[in-house]
């Protein structure tokens, strides 16, 4: 569909069918991957978790499994990358636009962004994926990397 996303989405940072039961748990799992792969500093995970509490990133898509795009300030990022997690059971994130509203989230795109001008294409392809119900359905049933590539290819 869009090659921009696979460019920044590290195959080693894709977690499918996670058992995580809270938003913090899935953020820490994905942030751990990004840190191990050299995308972010060790301060990144705490910074994202803290930011999610005050400036949440849940996106209401009128589905049972919505999307969240946690991220934080560029000072915690070493190089641009994206981690993605799908959840076996949705976890709760607050709505970006209305933090009092809680959303069940089934897909998490954890963004490590440090240069907005160079990462526009990747951001756009994340948005395209989010806005494509078939792509999300495909990701939900993906059980391996080939399935993910077939959807995001």
């Amino acid at each position: 569909m869009s090659d921009g996303l696979m460019q920044l989405l590290d195959p080693e940072a894709i977690v499918l069918g996670s058992d995580a039961s809270t938003n913090e748990e899935i953020i820490r799992i994905l942030a751990g991957r990004l840190e191990a792969l050299g995308y972010v500093k060790s301060s990144y995970a705490d910074a994202v978790v803290r930011r999610e509490m005050t400036i949440p990133t849940g996106l209401p898509l009128e589905r049972a499994d919505n999307v969240a795009v946690p991220h934080t300030d560029p000072e915690h990022v070493l190089k641009p990358g994206i981690a993605m997690g799908t959840l076996k059971q949705p976890v709760t994130f607050a709505n970006m636009e209305d933090p009092d509203e809680k959303l069940p989230v089934g897909f998490v795109f954890l963004l490590a962004i440090n240069d907005r001008d160079k990462q526009i294409e990747a951001l756009q392809s994340v948005m395209e994926t989010i806005q494509n119900p078939q792509a999300l359905d495909g990701l939900r049933s993906a059980s391996n990397l080939d399935d993910v590539r077939a959807v995001l290819g």
């Binding site: 400036i55 933090p99 907005r116 526009i120 756009q124």
Partner: protein
């Protein structure tokens, strides 16, 4: 149209979300024959910048102290209700 208007795009970090929204609005307005100056900022910076822009498109809540029009930009992330928001933005640009 009178002088080119300035839109301030705001989100939590001023980098990720507001960039996606800025690009989406710029492309959509180009199709409608409209251009504008764009700025991006963190939501917390908006009260200090609002005086120098015409209106704000934000994906996160903005302080009630801001008196410039604030248009909700989440539709550009979710795709839901995008046309209606584009109409609102076009109306502000044509004012």
């Amino acid at each position: 149209m009178s002088k080119q208007k300035t839109i301030l795009f705001a989100c939590g970090t001023g980098i990720a979300t507001s960039t996606a929204v800025n690009v989406a609005v710029t492309e959509a307005m180009k199709k409608r024959g409209l251009t504008f100056n764009a700025q991006q900022a963190k939501a917390t910076e908006v009260p200090g910048l609002a005086d120098s822009v015409d209106f704000i498109v934000a994906t996160t809540p903005i302080s009630a102290s801001v008196t410039k029009p604030v248009i909700k930009g989440l539709a550009f992330l979710t795709g839901i209700g995008k046309d209606k928001v584009l109409d609102e933005i076009e109306a502000q640009l044509r004012k």
